[in-house]
């Protein structure tokens, strides 16, 4: 049973922002695929502001070589959007693996980020695309890199009066890009491990590698040290082994040793080997 709350439907972004600033204990809802579960478990809000129908928050646009994704765009849309498939393939793949078809039809990219789960499938791909969030309040607007938005598992630096309005990413062209994930069953499962990668290579040499790992550390992270190591390095067994060693090292540095690593680290090792070998 859900706790009592009042629901308001915002028709425009400004309306949503004005509700957000004036109500006492409001919460944004888009798809509700995370929020409803939390509320059913007892989480209380005075008002639920529905932003799912606000046209300013929907869709994918391109300007000045950057891609802007409306925060209320669904996973289903992103998984099949031709532009995303061509320019951010890992994101399309990851969004296509979120939950079930029903969840993908309801759940939104903005909601996935605001929820900030360590296992959120959309985050590793957004990290390798250097995503920047636009956060708006009634009389303020700021742009924050995704890495700075998520501060702890399920905790963000987004103010209660702020709304994620869009997510800006850079396209990756000429990269071999993808998303690999492992889950306890074929679909409708939380990822046990997620790896987003984009690799540009030439003549047996890595030119540029972007790598982000989810479901492994308290927050999905961009493996920058590994990326630096691989930049310009010859594509051979030794490089790949060293890259994997470094990635595992980095994980242990972030979160120490966890019981789940008995499974996760060997699997990550295997996946990274496959991904880097191509």
């Amino acid at each position: 049973m859900l706790p009592k709350f009042a629901g308001v439907t915002a028709g425009t972004k400004d309306e949503a922002l004005s509700w957000l600033s004036s109500l006492k204990n409001p919460k944004i809802i888009a798809g509700g695929t995370d929020l409803m579960v939390k509320m059913r478990a007892g989480k209380q809000y005075s008002h639920i502001i529905d932003v799912a129908g606000i046209s300013e928050l929907l869709g994918v646009t391109e300007a000045d070589g950057r891609i802007s994704i409306g925060s209320a765009t669904t996973h289903a849309r992103l998984s099949s959007d031709g532009f995303i498939v061509r320019n951010a393939r890992s994101l399309a793949l990851a969004c296509g693996l979120v939950g079930s078809p029903q969840i993908r039809n309801m759940g939104t990219i903005g909601g996935n980020l605001a929820n900030a789960s360590p296992a959120a499938d959309s985050i590793p791909p957004l990290l390798i695309h250097d995503a920047v969030l636009t956060l708006e309040a009634r009389d303020a607007r700021r742009k924050v890199p995704l890495e700075e938005v998520i501060v702890a598992p399920y905790v963000t630096s987004i103010d209660g009066k702020e709304l994620i309005t869009s997510i800006e990413i850079g396209p990756l062209r000429g990269y071999r890009e993808g998303y690999r994930r492992v889950a306890k069953r074929a679909t409708w499962a939380i990822s046990r491990l997620g790896v987003a990668f984009a690799i540009r290579e030439e003549n047996d040499r890595f030119l540029d590698v972007k790598l982000a790992i989810g479901s492994c550390t308290p927050m999905p992270f961009r493996a920058k040290k590994v990326e630096d190591l691989l930049k310009g390095a010859p594509k051979n067994k030794a490089t790949i082994s060293e890259a994997i060693r470094m990635a595992l090292e980095e994980i242990k540095l972030i979160s120490g040793i966890r019981p789940s690593y008995a499974y996760k680290l060997p699997v990550l090792q295997g996946i990274l080997a496959e991904v880097l070998r191509g």
């Binding site: 579960v37 079930s100 492992v182 069953r185 679909t187 046990r192 060997p266 699997v267 996946i271 496959e274």
Partner: protein, 719 residues
């Protein structure tokens, strides 16, 4: 002819249109809502219950405890050992303590949350091996619920005569039934003041008797109706909401509705028994089995439910469907403070299939024999002696199921590095084990010129209503289905026994045949087969009273010998062979069941689509049992963290129907409900071995267990 045809199910239209009234859909004007207050402790003495805050809540009508029970506070299908409402002591988490009845479901819930209970914890016996040693007794009689033995020949001599012996330990865990519809029902008083309960159930007459004991009123004063039921698999055999509803109605004199949330259902409903199996097999170099010795330890939780049944059934099926001259089985089931384990599709046999099928593959490999050949060599067939020395006089089509799968087996080809194939065989006694388990029904005629079948069989979605109608039509030689079905109501039907043990097609089908014979004789005398219409027959007979034609069947069985379990515990057995192809990703530990060939000897398929449906569903459950389903007490709270297979995890299934007709069954039919599941997990585990060289002896073989086993195997190979 209706038998063997794909007759559209009689319940199909209502279900497709959404008009079928499931238990969750039941409503009555002015109805109240009930919620159960449950124990938060696994084992404790209740020191104090404070309901003052709950009672003060607006809308709360009654809060009932064990002291409000007018009759007996104990129920149980096998033994009356489980309280409806805890009387001073709780023996597992989720045990019912109070029933709150309120004007709305929300108030009932809020009031339940306001009840304060003080406990004094007792030792939590969380494991059957602890239970064996613990001085703490869960029940006065001790912690051993049941010990059954199967002794045939001389196992020690059998091992001496063997060329090789294989011994291993296997274990399984709790599995939830996970029916689509959680437990629910509506209780009310009828015009005559009788207590009526309509619920989602697998057995109406049993529940009528339990309510009768609970309220200390005659069974005739109680009416139990089966609402359209969204699945059972054994979980709705025990009393669920029915007792609380009856008690609430008895006290309030008003209609009362209740339904379990999914979380509640997961917490409190019975589970498949975790079994620990030490299995020793002896064989000769030619592959023939010389002896089997099995030690089974089961965790039944704090109450019997069907624990004794599982104990015995696991024991008598322990050898699998093979001729084994020397058998020694010790099967023991212990009380613990874990979830109550009860009936769950197969009563212990799927767990044993994991063991006997893995053992057989291991022997085959050691002597260089093909897994199919070793099964054919040892297969039970007509004239064989089972582990209980029962002579299989009748239908015994295991070899035919092996032959049906043989072409696919011989032509199998590994697609890639993770590809593997496995076989699993099983046999399963149809009906209850070595005890009387009759079914009755009756037939009559209606003024509209139709036959009316009164059936107490609970169709829980498997299709028994349709199958029984098909049997009746053919038994009467009707050309059209001119039958009205009156079903699932203790007021209008005889006791058909529970929908369990794969028994309804076989046993109730025979009861229908019995009644049909009597009606047919009558119709013959009345000239029906010479063209006289049923309407005319009815009219002519109306003055003297339309006769009622009773049907009855109780399968011929013998009680197992108390020391050796020797005897004929079942009148007939189902047989099956599954062949499963898997694809294992060694990097991630993900195992995908790719393709299944499932051949089942069902005696005779009354409704081919229904039989196939059972096989598809059985395979799905087998995939869950093998690869992911695991109820972890205290952790598995919802389907968020209890993983069931989805359609994406389903292999392609080819269902192959083998019909070795059973002379004692209706038109040769046996049962298929549980057999459909039993060999699948074993076939998957054998396929994983074929793919990876790793033997998974503990279920589920989920991605983490499989990956760790693969890692370990790799390291051992390096050395």
């Amino acid at each position: 002819m209706f038998i063997g045809q794909d007759i559209t199910r009689v319940d199909a239209l209502d279900k497709v249109l959404g008009t079928a009234a499931f238990a969750h859909d039941l409503r009555k004007d002015g109805m109240l809502f009930a919620r159960v207050v449950r124990s938060s402790r696994p084992h404790a003495v209740i020191k104090r219950i404070d309901v003052s805050a709950a009672r003060a809540l607006d809308g709360v009508v009654k809060i009932l405890s064990h002291e409000d029970i007018p009759g007996e506070n104990l129920f149980g299908a096998i033994r009356k050992d489980q309280p409806f409402l805890a009387a001073g002591r709780v023996r597992c988490k989720g045990e019912a303590i109070l029933v709150v009845v309120a004007a709305t479901e929300e108030v009932a819930q809020r009031a339940s949350d306001l009840v304060r209970i003080e406990y004094e914890d007792l030792e939590n016996i969380s494991d059957p091996f602890l239970s064996i040693q613990s001085p703490v007794l869960i029940h006065d009689g001790g912690n051993l619920l049941s010990h059954r033995k199967v002794i045939k020949g001389d196992a020690a001599k059998g091992f001496e005569a063997s060329d090789l012996i294989v011994e291993n330990t296997y274990s399984t865990t709790w599995i939830d039934h996970a029916y689509m519809e959680t437990e629910a029902g509506l209780g009310y008083l009828d015009d005559r003041g009788r207590v009526v309960v309509a619920s989602s159930t697998q057995n109406i007459h049993y529940k009528m008797k339990e309510i009768s004991r609970l309220l200390a009123i005659a069974p005739e004063e109680i009416r139990v109706i089966q609402a359209t039921t969204g699945g059972g698999f054994g979980g709705k055999l025990d009393v669920t909401v029915e007792g609380y509803l009856a008690l609430a109605v008895w006290h309030t004199k008003r209609p009362v509705f209740m339904r379990y949330t999914r979380e509640e259902s997961l917490l409190v409903q019975t589970k498949r028994h975790p079994l620990y199996i030490v299995y020793k097999t002896g064989a000769r170099k030619d592959g023939s089995l010389t002896a089997v010795e099995v030690n089974i330890v089961g965790d039944t939780g704090p109450y019997n439910s069907y624990g004794e049944t599982v104990c015995l059934r696991a024991a008598v099926h322990a050898t699998g469907p093979y001729e084994v001259p020397n058998v020694l089985v010790n099967s023991r089931v212990y009380y613990t403070n874990n979830p109550v384990a009860g009936a769950m599709r197969g009563f212990g046999v799927p767990q044993l299939a994991l063991a006997h099928e893995s053992q057989l593959d291991e022997i085959a490999e050691k002597i260089g024999m093909d897994p199919l050949d070793i099964r054919m060599k040892n297969a039970l067939k007509r004239g064989s002696l089972t582990a209980t020395s029962q002579v299989l006089n009748h239908s015994a089509g295991l070899l035919e199921t092996l032959k049906a799968v043989e072409p696919f087996w011989r032509e199998r080809r590994k697609e890639g590095p993770g590809s593997g194939f496995g076989l699993g065989c099983m046999y399963y006694g149809i009906g209850n084990t070595g005890i009387s388990n009759p079914s009755s029904c009756y037939l009559t005629l209606t003024p509209e010129g139709r036959v009316e079948m009164h059936s107490g069989v609970c169709d829980i979605g498997q299709g028994s209503d349709t199958a029984l109608l098909q049997i009746l039509c053919d038994a009467l030689g009707m050309e059209e289905m001119g039958i009205d079905l009156v079903r699932g109501d203790t007021d209008t039907s005889y006791d058909a026994g529970s929908t369990s043990a794969s028994r309804q097609t076989y046993i109730s089908g025979m009861a229908v045949c019995d009644a049909a014979q009597k009606l047919k004789k009558y119709l013959k005398e009345q000239g029906y087969y010479e063209g006289k219409s049923l309407k005319d027959i009815y009219r002519a007979a109306a003055d003297s009273g339309i006769p009622i034609f009773d049907g009855h069947f109780d399968p011929p069985t013998t009680a197992p010998d108390p020391e050796t379990s020797q005897g004929a515990p079942y009148a007939t057995y189902g047989f099956a062979t599954h062949m499963t192809e898997v694809d294992v990703d060694e990097v991630t530990g993900v195992c995908k069941a790719v393709r299944v060939h499932a051949a089942h000897d069902v005696g005779r398929a009354i409704n081919v689509s229904n039989v196939r449906g059972q096989i598809y569903g059985g395979v799905a459950m087998g995939v869950g049992l093998a690869l992911m389903e695991e109820f972890i007490p205290g952790k598995s709270e919802s389907f968020d963290n209890y993983y069931l297979p989805t359609s994406m995890d389903m292999p392609e299934v080819e269902a192959i129907i083998v019909e070795d007709r059973e002379p004692t069954g209706p038109f040769g039919a046996k049962g298929v409900g549980e057999p459909a599941l039993i060999p699948q997990a074993a076939a998957i585990v054998n396929a994983i071995y074929d793919a990876t060289g790793v033997r998974m002896r503990r279920l589920p073989c989920d991605i983490e267990r499989l990956k760790l086993a693969l890692e370990k195997n790799q390291e051992e190979n390096k050395r």
